[in-house]
């Protein structure tokens, strides 16, 4: 047998490579052990990276997991176009759970403030139950929020989709225990150990396609709660709110009525990375009105079955 010398790249111990290998390992464990996995796909950068990792995990075999988009109806058209293009290019199966359908038939009621982010939970849980999905991949990261910091990588949900932080299973070594009763499911978070900067560095390294609104563009916006919201048919502007045109980009992609843009001139990934390196505000703090409701806003939503 001929000895093969190490090429430096073969023993790649750079932290992003370690995170990538960890995520691929998690995804393969879940695809091997669960019967009906599904991947939550919002069109945001985290779900784009998650999808990319899932495809890598199964390469060269096709991804045997459908996508699920919980659609608030308050979409950025660029994100929907990106989603549809990607699904078609990759030949993937996409389920859409539209919040509007639940409102139309009375299972949900529109909130007075018009925000639909909290309304996503019911369509999500109904769709999981309808298709009997037993493993639900999500792109949530522990660095996003302090309730998420206590989340497991494989996290059990009861029959009502609820998360009980005091009943979490200990997660030892890299052995994941996804055993569950009929009607329960597990949420799977392969990006648990990634930060926003890791995600962007990875997008740059692997050339993962992301929607155009992550890069600076001219947009009609108005100021509310210290954020730039997009002017549109939902939520604004209201009386006294001035619409102005600004060069902005989005740091997160969510319900368009409560996801804020940041002023930016970053039109390339390198410029986005440079901007993040000097940013002094977290992505949720900068862009999500719904997380400012209380100290425990995310914990409360998670307990009810939110992403």
């Amino acid at each position: 047998m001929t000895a093969t010398m190490a090429s430096p790249a073969a023993v790649d111990v750079d932290h992003l490579a370690a995170l990538e290998s960890e995520a691929v390992h998690i995804i393969r464990e879940v695809i091997a052990e669960f019967d009906r996995p599904v991947l939550l796909f919002s069109g945001g950068k985290d779900s784009a990276v998650l999808l990319h990792l899932a495809r890598r995990a199964m390469h060269p075999a096709p991804l045997p997991v459908p996508l699920l988009h919980v659609d608030t109806g308050h979409n950025f058209p660029e994100v929907i176009a990106y989603r549809d293009q990607l699904v078609s290019d990759l030949g993937l199966r996409l389920h859409v759970a539209a919040v509007q359908d639940w409102i139309d038939d009375g299972r949900l009621t529109e909130r007075p403030d018009g925000t639909r982010n909290p309304l996503q939970t019911v369509p999500l849980l109904d769709t999981i139950a309808e298709h009997r999905f037993d493993a639900v991949f999500g792109g949530a990261r522990r660095d996003e929020d302090r309730a998420r910091a206590k989340e497991r990588i494989v996290s059990l949900r009861d029959a009502f989709g609820g998360w009980d932080p005091r009943r979490q299973r200990p997660e030892l070594w890299n052995l994941y225990n996804g055993r569950h009763a009929v009607g329960e499911h597990a949420r799977i978070f392969p990006l648990s150990n990634w930060t926003e900067l890791d995600v962007w560095t990875y997008v740059a390294r692997r050339e993962v396609p992301v929607p155009s609104i992550y890069f600076a563009h001219e947009r009609e916006v108005f100021a509310r709660d210290g954020m730039w919201l997009t002017a549109g048919e939902w939520g604004g502007p209201r009386n006294g709110e001035q619409v102005v045109t600004k060069s902005v980009r989005y740091r997160t992609v969510g319900d368009a009525s409560c996801t804020g843009a940041v002023e930016s001139s970053a039109v390339t990934i390198d410029e986005v990375l440079a901007e993040l390196a000097t940013s002094r505000i977290t992505e949720r703090g900068a862009t999500r009105a719904d997380d400012r409701l209380s100290e425990a806003a995310m914990e409360d939503r998670k307990r009810e079955g939110y992403f």
């Binding site: 073969a10 111990v13 393969r28 060269p60 206590k150 932080p165 030892l172 914990e299």
Partner: protein, 438 residues
């Protein structure tokens, strides 16, 4: 006991797996300390002083501090995430924190200090390559410290750092620090742990955490962060015998890959190379590694931690649950084993219990045939067998398996010597198991 004698390696003409020269860019660490040792404050300090806390988080903590009637920024509030934790001023669950410096990224498993939450410490320590054990300078080494140290020794965390905190409250006195250091070192060497680094700190004021303190001119060692940035890690796993647990078989059956059959998995330890003779265990089938695939193309080798796909020369029956190893350095294929169990469930373990064991990518039924001892965490020695094993206790057990497992002793391989004990009825994780002899 496990056979720890070195086995003959490969032929002399072949290179041994190289020690990894690069310093790993990712360090997983954990913290341990008693209640009020200032652990949350230390974690908050590390995050704050590495600029990992951003303005809006700072403002939120500032608001919360004031709401609780405080004046100085309460760094602990960065890490207490759940409503009950903030209300009761305690930490319930392991929280993961992230910070980075230009040289490394750190994943910190922040574990609660309460004695009843030993299971969280075990959880955090299972993946940690380094543990920071906190001691209050006023109290010195206490029973809790010994227990935490023993857990780190038990789980073979490769590096332990002693952080003597609240040095400001003892006037930064060197004799106090040296006294605790020698107490701690004595306790650690009694547990068979290697020499360790001790740092005098004040997490509250930041002394020697990230920035060097002017109050400890007698201390010439690294700051805590300097040590975290430079400690060599990742070498142990690469130097161990090669283990590749197969996660799943990839068979695309597409036009481009009609006959492709690849074994997907993550190298658990050692280095896998193209051309290696391998044996799949427990089945015992032999083959040759004809290729190592990644989505970016083939590679010549893959080291511990890398997720790859292995192509074999023969169509052998090696699916999920098999472990690839070199024929001269194999794990043991067993139908029974001795193990230490760290019991994590409220419901105690009684001899005769039927359980599931999840080891690597294989899960088998098992019976805990006998409890063989209870581990004394002060000495890491086994005492007389208990009638049952209670929450947070560690005990020796003899386990009979319903199927074959290919195991290493935990002492020789942290990655293939550990397993989960799972409740057959409700699926809960009951225990962390460490193979002692097979």
């Amino acid at each position: 006991m496990a056979d720890l004698t070195p086995r003959p390696g490969k032929q002399v003409s072949e290179p041994m797996p190289r020690p990894c020269k690069q310093v790993s860019g990712l360090l997983r660490l954990t913290t341990a300390g008693s209640v009020d040792d200032g652990k949350s404050t230390l974690v908050g300090r590390l995050l704050h002083d590495t600029q990992s806390i951003l303005a809006d988080q700072l403002a939120a903590v500032d608001r919360a501090t004031r709401a609780r009637g405080g004046s100085q920024l309460d760094l602990a509030l960065f890490t207490d995430g759940l409503r009950a934790e903030r209300e009761q001023g305690i930490t319930i669950d392991v929280a993961y924190r992230y910070f980075a410096t230009p040289t490394r990224k750190f994943i910190l498993a922040d574990c609660p200090g309460h004695v009843q939450y030993t299971r969280n410490t075990v959880t955090g320590a299972s993946t940690a390559e380094l543990a920071v054990v906190l001691v209050d300078a006023r109290n010195g080494v206490v029973e809790q410290t010994r227990r935490h140290l023993a857990v780190m020794a038990f789980l073979r965390v490769p590096h332990v750092v002693l952080a003597v905190n609240k040095m400001d409250l003892v006037g930064f006195a060197e004799p106090t620090f040296r006294g605790i250091e020698s107490q701690f070192t004595a306790a650690a060497s009694a547990l068979g742990m290697p020499e360790m680094v001790s740092v005098p700190i004040s997490a509250l004021h930041g002394d020697n955490v990230v920035t060097r303190s002017e109050s400890t001119p007698w201390y010439h060692g690294p700051t805590l962060l300097e040590h975290l940035e430079t400690v060599p890690i990742g070498r142990e796993a690469v130097a161990e015998p090669m283990r590749f647990p197969v996660q799943l078989v990839l068979r695309p059956r597409t036009a481009d890959y009609p006959d492709y059959r690849g074994l997907a998995g993550q190298v658990a330890s050692g280095v896998l190379e193209r051309g290696d003779e391998v044996v799949a265990l427990p089945s015992g089938a032999r083959s040759t590694v004809t290729g190592i695939d990644t989505p970016d193309g083939p590679v010549l080798q893959a080291a511990a931690g890398q997720s790859v796909t292995v192509l074999l020369g023969d169509e052998i029956d090696a699916g999920r649950g098999e472990v690839l190893a070199r024929p001269e350095q194999t794990p043991r294929v067993v139908t029974e084993l001795d193990a230490d169990l760290c019991w994590l469930s409220e419901q105690p373990l009684r001899p005769g219990a039927r359980v599931l064991i999840k080891h690597g990518t294989r899960t088998v039924g098992a019976i805990v045939a006998a409890l063989t001892g209870r581990l004394d965490l002060d000495t890491l020695r086994h005492r007389e067998p208990p009638a049952m094993l209670q929450l947070n206790e560690i005990g020796g057990a003899h386990i009979r398996l319903a199927g074959l497992l290919a195991v290493d002793s935990y002492a020789s391989n942290r990655h293939t010597g550990g397993f989960l004990v799972i409740d057959t009825a409700n699926g809960n994780t009951l225990a962390a198991g460490l193979v002692t002899a097979a």
